[in-house]
Symmetry: C2
Subunit: 328 residues, 2 copies
């Protein structure tokens, strides 16, 4: 059982679970570790803070995107966390580790990508540091204003409807195509240039539409699992209603379904909407800036996560060892 002593066996979430229960709570900490952002008090303001890192060889390969796209992406993955809490991003710090052989022109392009994405989102890059490192890494910290209402991943209740913005699975399809040497197409573009759903997140939170929200970075099923665990509910997911992009729909069925459910890198928002707020959501849907699709509902926590769909989908998912499936 030597493996049990390394991060490889425990995984990020296993380690975070070990780490976070020991962290102290304080009155000026509104939301501590374990959500998309921390929320802290600073005078009368509530500030969102989040940090996320891209490591070469782990989160990206140089061949998969331009340095400028990489810079843009390193900010976007953090902006997505601000979006998931319904906030407005304000400031950014950059910590970069750079191999000594990395061209300065490339590093300048990374920086230009960060700056462009920052400008578009109203974020000021206020500082950072550059260190040498064996492999390139970009660790960004983003601050945000919390707005009147902070939405966590822990507020979903039994009976709430589950919605998702945009489409799922295309980014993961893009990675698969890049691994196979394909460099063009909508899916590759989707992977290279993710969008943070800032306008949608702020609207859904501040207009009091949603009870819980999380961004989909690890794949729908995994992030739904985080939301249901934090909310102490279960969920039924209607597999047939998952919004897949046209690139994904060209794939044979089972592969598309797997990418939509588990692919990750979508940076869409998954949210829970109390039934009484669904009419409001429908009224606001034109202002969200993207499609928003009902994909399921919250049920009792004893039911875990159930998938509902056709017989064919059931046979696909059962092969993957999925043990909660019922026909829709």
């Amino acid at each position: 059982m030597a493996r049990a002593n390394t991060l490889a066996s425990l995984g990020e979430f296993g380690f975070l679970e070990r780490l976070f229960p020991t962290l102290a709570t304080r009155r000026d900490v509104v939301v501590g570790p374990g959500d998309d952002c921390a929320v802290v008090r600073c005078g009368k303001q509530r500030i969102l803070i989040t940090t996320d890192v891209l490591v070469e060889g782990v989160h990206f390969r140089h061949a998969w995107m331009t340095p400028r796209q990489l810079g843009r992406r390193s900010l976007t993955v953090n902006l997505s966390d601000i979006a998931a809490m319904g906030g407005r991003p304000t400031f950014c710090l950059i910590s970069v580790g750079v191999p000594t052989s990395y061209p300065v022109t490339s590093l300048s392009a990374v920086h230009a990508g960060i700056e462009a994405a920052a400008r578009a989102a109203g974020v000021a890059v206020v500082g950072g540091n550059v260190s040498s490192a064996r492999r390139l890494f970009l660790s960004l910290t983003v601050l945000g204003e919390a707005g009147r209402r902070v939405v966590t991943r822990g507020g979903a209740r039994v009976g709430d409807e589950l919605y998702v913005t945009g489409t799922l699975g295309a980014a993961a399809l893009g990675i698969r195509q890049l691994r196979r040497g394909r460099r063009l197409g909508a899916a590759v573009r989707r992977y290279r240039e993710p969008q943070a759903r800032l306008a949608a997140g702020a609207l859904l939170a501040q207009r009091n539409v949603v009870s819980a929200m999380i961004d989909i970075s690890d794949g729908l099923l995994q992030d739904l699992g985080h939301m249901t665990a934090a909310s102490n509910v279960g969920a039924v997911l209607n597999v047939e209603s998952l919004p897949c992009s046209s690139a994904l729909r060209q794939l044979a069925g089972p592969a598309a379904l797997q990418l939509a459910l588990r692919g990750g890198e979508d940076y869409e928002l998954l949210c829970a909407v109390p039934r009484g707020r669904v009419p409001l959501l429908q009224r606001l849907s034109g202002q969200i800036g993207c499609r928003i699709t009902r994909i399921g509902r919250c049920v009792g926590s004893d039911r875990g996560i159930e998938l509902a769909g056709s017989e064919r989908q059931r046979s696909v998912l059962n092969k993957e060892g999925w043990d909660h499936f019922r026909r829709s």
Copy 2:
């Protein structure tokens, strides 16, 4: 001239200089990139933000300190930046890159070190992320309250006296001893367990003693160079008055002088004190929590940085290519 295109040739400061002029300024950014911390407005509050990273093989070696000491250090180097602006640290985020083979017990010890240092400084660790990486890195972001007065590195004026807290050079001596396989002694301890001068920094800033302040992480001469450049002044340093620890004084003279001037990793504060505030400094010296030593004064920027000392010291420094030396 191919070297001119890589970070190896340009160096961190060269790259930062290229990077930072392009960064936008905004009304809510009080101090932007280029100081120890950024200072931003958040409602009526002014917040300090800083980020710093430790990379294995660049900033430390595993054999040089325990994982707990490493964790403590990763926070302390950030706290030192808060101290240099006269602030009070409040919150911390951790971004860790971990080789998959790194033992979880070691990672937990790193975390325990961060937590212990955070508790001692009144800092709440509010979040973070863990990623896999080829080599261990710890990128921490620390927030702080700015206090009534924010001291930058750019406020020194001609005629101001230069002071430094604590002693210089021992940490660099400790690294030298560790490289030679020595694992014990005061210098090694000093390297392994640096202290951030939070109380001193806050007192000197908030009681309006200092006109400029910077923490000494890159070595006295280099950080003095940053302060004089930002303040558009020159400086005369009295080499004979540099406060060396007893461990350093046991070395032969030239080596000790070099370590005190260029060694780095001291995490002491270098500050400029207007002459009229020197009596106040003397009255407060009992509350600073460490010794504070006058080491020189600010002169016109045309004089650059001059060293003043004995004939013997001059011969040592001239061998290093130092071209502004005069006898004291």
